[in-house]
């Protein structure tokens, strides 16, 4: 009896002011605020860092054109790179970067897609147990190791087989091929695994063979994902500095063929950055190269987004 009374009393005292009761903050609401605050803080810091990096590189990169009054066309299309003498034609490096990037992507994609199909469709068990760890390992190897192997194995091999110094675009392509292969493979595997199982079942139930199912249904519906994988691989190849620098020969001249020394935007940056003085033309010119790299990576990102959107749109119409 007493207990009932007590409970009644307590309820009465609480229920007097419903407005206050329903508006006051409890521990749950405070936790909510806190969580929100922390998330916003993190996002804010990241945005700040990215924005200041963009601003920094852009402001330094355009100094070549605003302070040193080099014309943009000369920079983009000139072929003479001698910053000490005031010549900063960046075309050789731009061509070198695109050449190694596309060549590596073209060579790596068939291998990557083939491996991914094996891992998802042909032998999922072996794929998971054997190939997955191998690929993860390949991703984790530092680029200097790839470069070193390139220098010790690929360059002498090329020298032996095709002659010349062995340094050049083809050696860089080979090293980059090995470096982007795991990136493209693992992302392709993800996109193949994301293909709904019922597509495969439907195709098999119609009497299609496994090959027909893989090539016409599974690969087709994974195409946006595979393209994204290739672009990520290209972005990695485009941005790779050290390994490329070690095998490409670093001659800032227009590449005439695939086996003569050349250079890329990144290799030129790492080679030259230590030898220049802040604020001078040679230094600013390097920042301009960095700006091109930045713009290219933004472009790759935008491309990935466009592809993802296209892939969705196609089936909502």
């Amino acid at each position: 009896m007493e207990q009932t009374n007590f409970q009644l009393k307590k309820q009465k005292s609480q229920s007097n002011d419903w407005s206050a009761r329903l508006h006051h903050a409890t521990r749950a609401t405070r936790e909510d605020w806190m969580g929100k605050g922390i998330s916003y803080l993190c996002i804010g810091v990241i945005i700040l860092v990215v924005a200041s990096m963009l601003w920094f590189i852009t402001s330094k990169g355009v100094a070549t054109f605003t302070q040193n009054h080099v014309s943009l066309t000369k920079f983009l299309f000139g072929t003479n790179w001698a910053p000490d003498q005031g010549h900063i034609g960046a075309l050789p490096m731009i061509v070198g970067s695109f050449a190694v990037t596309f060549a590596a992507a073209i060579v790596a994609t068939p291998f990557a897609v083939g491996t991914a199909i094996f891992m998802t469709e042909i032998s999922p068990n072996k794929g998971r147990k054997l190939l997955q760890p191998v690929i993860e390992l390949l991703v984790g190897i530092p680029s200097v190791v790839y470069g070193f192997i390139g220098l010790a194995v690929v360059v002498p091999f090329m020298r032996h087989v095709v002659g010349g110094s062995g340094f050049g675009i083809i050696s860089a392509t080979f090293v980059l091929f090995v470096m982007v292969l795991p990136t493209i493979t693992s992302m392709t595997v993800d996109s193949l695994r994301a293909v709904p199982r019922h597509f495969k079942e439907a195709s098999l139930a119609l009497g299609a063979t496994r090959w027909q199912t893989v090539s016409r249904v599974i690969l087709r519906s994974a195409t946006p994902g595979i393209l994204t994988a290739v672009i990520f691989g290209m972005a990695r190849a485009f941005g790779e500095a050290l390994a490329v620098q070690m095998v490409i020969g670093n001659a800032a001249i227009m590449p005439k063929n695939l086996i003569s020394p050349a250079s890329t935007l990144t290799s030129q940056l790492t080679t030259g950055i230590g030898d220049t003085i802040d604020g001078t033309l040679p230094n600013n010119a390097l920042w301009s190269l960095a700006l091109i790299l930045l713009l290219m990576s933004l472009f790759f990102n935008a491309l990935v987004r466009v592809i993802a959107k296209r892939g969705q749109l196609k089936h909502e119409r």
Partner: protein, 267 residues
């Protein structure tokens, strides 16, 4: 708590030699690893009729159905005999692709490919080597008409199949199957993801289709079995308990377990 029923007490009809059969299974057993999912299924399916397989979840009816066109290959071990045109198609030497062309299947969830409506239908035809454009077009129209979808989609054959409603998607899947001109059509709970109106349309389609095809349909929905089927098999915990004409099954079930299931005591 589920009552224990004897698996010995069954009532499974057989057909005399005058009835022409689409398919027949003998001693069909299905194992998922150590799990014995289907015991001794002996069922015969008359031609140009709809046979419904009913039973609670986990009773093995879908497992049984998937064995009939070898869709359990690589998933489960199937032993016993599956007779089709006097050939045991459960033999490993049988060409499974050929079988699936003659024994089509429609799944529980509508699963059109992420392609256009037309492409969904011509996909399998092309995979089979049919290249003539006029003939492909003809087959598209014929199969869409057969699945009672033509009037709704004839002006938008190039639209993505995924833009169709669930019921239309399922009828597209039926159209896709009959475009191959199979003998037998297996349907695995084709209406469980559909609203009542779409369900009625699919059922009307099936009743029309049985003139040309032999249909075996797994369903959760007893009213649906009563509405569309001529024969009805009741599965319970991996056993075929009763197989009778549908009228008998619902008005005069032969054994206690079926009586209880029909009465709604479990399931």
């Amino acid at each position: 708590m589920l009552k224990q029923y004897s698996f010995e007490e069954t009532a499974v009809q057989t057909f005399d030699e005058k009835t022409s059969l689409a398919m027949k299974t003998e001693n069909l057993q299905v194992f998922y690893g150590a799990n014995h999912a289907m015991h001794d299924a002996d069922l015969a399916f008359p031609k140009n009729q709809i046979t419904a397989l009913i039973g609670a979840s986990g009773s093995g009816k879908s497992t049984y159905l998937r064995s009939l066109n070898r869709m359990n290959d690589g998933i489960a071990t199937v032993t016993g005999k599956i007779w089709y045109h006097n050939v045991d198609i459960n033999e490993p030497t049988v060409n499974i692709y050929e079988i699936r062309r003659h024994i089509g299947m429609v799944f529980q969830r509508p699963n059109p490919f992420a392609k256009s409506i037309r492409e969904n239908i011509v996909y399998a035809l092309r995979a089979n080597g049919l290249k003539n454009k006029a003939e492909l077009e003809e087959r598209v129209e014929k199969s869409l008409r057969g699945a009672a979808l033509w009037d709704e989609v004839k002006d938008s054959l190039d639209k993505s199949a995924l833009s169709l409603s669930g019921g239309q998607q399922q009828r597209l899947c039926i159209a896709r199957s009959i475009a191959m001109e199979p003998d037998v059509l297996l349907l695995d709970e084709p209406c469980s993801a559909l609203d009542p109106i779409s369900t009625v349309k699919v059922e009307e389609t099936l009743l029309e289709l049985q003139k040309k095809y032999s249909i075996i349909i797994v369903t959760h929905n007893m009213q649906q079995a009563a509405r569309v089927s001529s024969q009805c098999a009741f599965f319970h915990l991996g056993h075929v308990m009763e197989y009778t004409p549908t009228g008998t099954m619902f008005s005069n079930p032969q054994i206690p377990v079926t009586q209880d299931y029909i009465a709604g005591s479990f399931g």
